[in-house]
Symmetry: C2
Subunit: 338 residues, 2 copies
Amino acid sequence: MTPVNLKSLAEQLNMSIATVSRALRDSHEVSDATKARVRALATALNYEPNAYASSLRRNLSKTIGVVIPKVANHFFALAINGIEEAARQSGYHVLIYLTHDDYAREVSIVQHLKGGRIDGLLMSVASGTEDFAHIKSLQETNLPIVFFDRVCAEVATAKVTTNDYESGYRATEHLILAGCRHVAHLLISNNLSIGQFRQQGYLDALQAHGLTPDPDLVLHGVMDNEQNVALIRELLLRRPDIDGVFASVERLAISTYHVCKELGRRIPEDVKIIGFSNLEAAALLDPPLSTITQPAYEIGREAAKILLRAVEKKKAVLPAQSIVLESTLFERRSTASE
Amino acid sequence: MTPVNLKSLAEQLNMSIATVSRALRDSHEVSDATKARVRALATALNYEPNAYASSLRRNLSKTIGVVIPKVANHFFALAINGIEEAARQSGYHVLIYLTHDDYAREVSIVQHLKGGRIDGLLMSVASGTEDFAHIKSLQETNLPIVFFDRVCAEVATAKVTTNDYESGYRATEHLILAGCRHVAHLLISNNLSIGQFRQQGYLDALQAHGLTPDPDLVLHGVMDNEQNVALIRELLLRRPDIDGVFASVERLAISTYHVCKELGRRIPEDVKIIGFSNLEAAALLDPPLSTITQPAYEIGREAAKILLRAVEKKKAVLPAQSIVLESTLFERRSTASE
DNA sequence: TTTATTTACGCAAACGTTTTCACCCGCCGT
DNA sequence: ACGGCGGGTGAAAACGTTTGCGTAAATAAA
C-alpha cells in the first residue's frame, strides 16, 4: 500500500506538491477548480496530513501540555474535562502528565517539555515544589504557561484560581455561625499561595468573630492517607474541645469522617465538618458533607482559553490575564446546628 | 539567542552533526572520548532534541493516544493514572481525547489520529457506537490498538477487561442471598459486550436460584442523569415489589439512592442496592454502598503495557494478549440482611 | 611488507510539510 | 507593440533529526 501523502496526491493529480499543499490549506493563490480536484481526491483517499512534518516545518505542534499532581481526584478530572473541551474547539491536542506531587518528577517532565513537543503549558504545581527554576527555564524558551489552582507566585504569567481567601473565610465563618468555638483547620503542608490564602481566611474569620486563633488547631497533612488518619485521630483525642473542622483538602475531610466514626464522635452534633470538595456524592455521605466547591470545569476551560489565545498570537501570556472564579458553599447536614 | 540543536552543538564541538547525534544516542561507533565531550556540552546547554524532527525521521512519536468517554469518572481517572504510569516508565507521552459518549466525536477523533501523531491507541469505546468502521480503518494503517473495559468485539485486537459475567452473577447472587426476590438490573443502553456479559450474569444468577427473569425489571438508562432519576422513580413506583437493585453503572446506583430517599424507601430494609463503582467514598455513603469494584488502575496499566510491547516490536497487537482482571465485591450496609 | 579488518567519523539523503521565489501566460492600459 | 501586472503554478530550500554509505586511519592478520 503506497503511503498517502502530498507527493502521492500530487502524482495522481499531475500537479506539484506545492499546489496540493496550498489547495488543502485553502490558499487564495490556487484556482477553485484545482482546489476542488485536490479536495476530492484527498477525501477519497482519506488523506490526513502528517502531524510531525507539519509541526517541524511550522514550528508549532497544535498541542498543549497539562501537568497536574494527579488525575484520580474529581477536581483535576473536571479541570481536564474543561481543558479538553477548549482545546478540541480550537483544534488542539492535549498531552497529560502526572507529577504525583513529586518534585523530582515534575522537574523531569518539565525538562522533557523543552523538546518543542507542545505550544503551551497548563500547570498545577506539585505541593512539594519549592524551587521554580525548572519552570522559569521553560518559560525562557518562550513557551506560554498558564497556572491553574495550584499556582506559583514566583513565575510571572497568567493564573486561574478560585477566591481562596474568601472561601476559607466563609467556610470558617459558617462553622462559627453554626455554633463552633474551637475550629480546626486541616491543610496540606505546602508553601503554595493557595494554601496560605485559605489559612489567612480561616484566621481572619476567627478574629472577626472574637475567637483567638490557636496554632495547635492547625494540622498539616501529608501525602499518605493512613498517616493523615493517625494525625487527625491524635488531634481529636488531644483536643476533645474541637467542635468544628475546616478541611482545605477533600481527602482530609474524608479522613476526618473515618476518624469520627472510629472515635464515636457524632457529626454534626459533636463535630461539624466542612471541606473543599468536588465530590459528586457529597450529598449522599453519612451525613451529607457541607462543601466549598470549586468550579473545576470552568477553571480548566478558562485556563485553556487564556493559554490558547496566547499561543495563537505567538506571544507570552500576560499576568494581567489572570482571573479568579468563585467557589460555592453548599450547606449540608455535616454543619447543621441543632 | 541561537537555537540549541544538533547543528549548533556540532559547530561548537568542531565535529559533524552525525557524530553528535550518534554520541547522544550512545551509538557504538563513536569513541568514548567524543561521547563525553558531546554529552558535557549538551547538558551544559540544556539540549533537548526536537521531538518532531525525530518523530518525522524515525516515523514514530513516542506518544500513545487514549480515547475514552469521559474523565470525570473515577474508573477512567484511575485507568489514566495506570496508563500514564506505564507510559512514563517506557518514556512515552500520553495524548488524551474525550468522546463524551458521542459517536460523531469519536469518529472525528479517530480520523485525526491517522496523522501519525501516535504510535498506539488505548480505547474505551463510546456507549453509542455501533459502527466500527472508523476503528477498523485506523487499524488498517498498522496502528496498534488495545481496548480496555468498553471493548469492541468486532475488532480483532487485545482487550483488557474485568470478569463482567462473573461480576454480574455474583452481584445478583449476593442480593438474592440477602433475601431479595425481585431484583432489578439497571444498565446503560448499549450493545457493548461488557453490558451484555453483566446482563447474562444477572439472568443466570436468577435462574440458578429459581427466580424467573422479568424483562420489566431491566432498565436501560440514558446519558442524562435527570432522565435516569425519572426512569428509576417510575420503575420503583410501577413495581413496588422490587426489593433489590443491581446497577451496572455507578451513576445509576447514585440515582437510585436519590430516588429511594425521595420515595421514602429505606436502604437496605426496603430495597437493597449494589452497583459497579470505583467511588472512593462508597463506604461513607448513607448507607454505605455495596460495590463491585474494578481494578481500574491495573486495567489501565496492563492495557498500556500490552500496547507498548506491541509498539516497541512494531507489530500488531495480538488478540491472544487479551487479559481479564478480577473485580472485587465489597459487602456494605446497602445490601445487609436484617 | 602487504592485505584484511576494525574503529571513528563525515557526507548527504531521506522523512512530509510549508513557503519563498521565480516563472509563464494572458490581459490591461498606453 | 510593448511594458506591466496579477493569477496560477512549480522548483527547491528549509525545519532538525536519523542513518546508509563511504573513507581515512589504525590495528590485526597474512
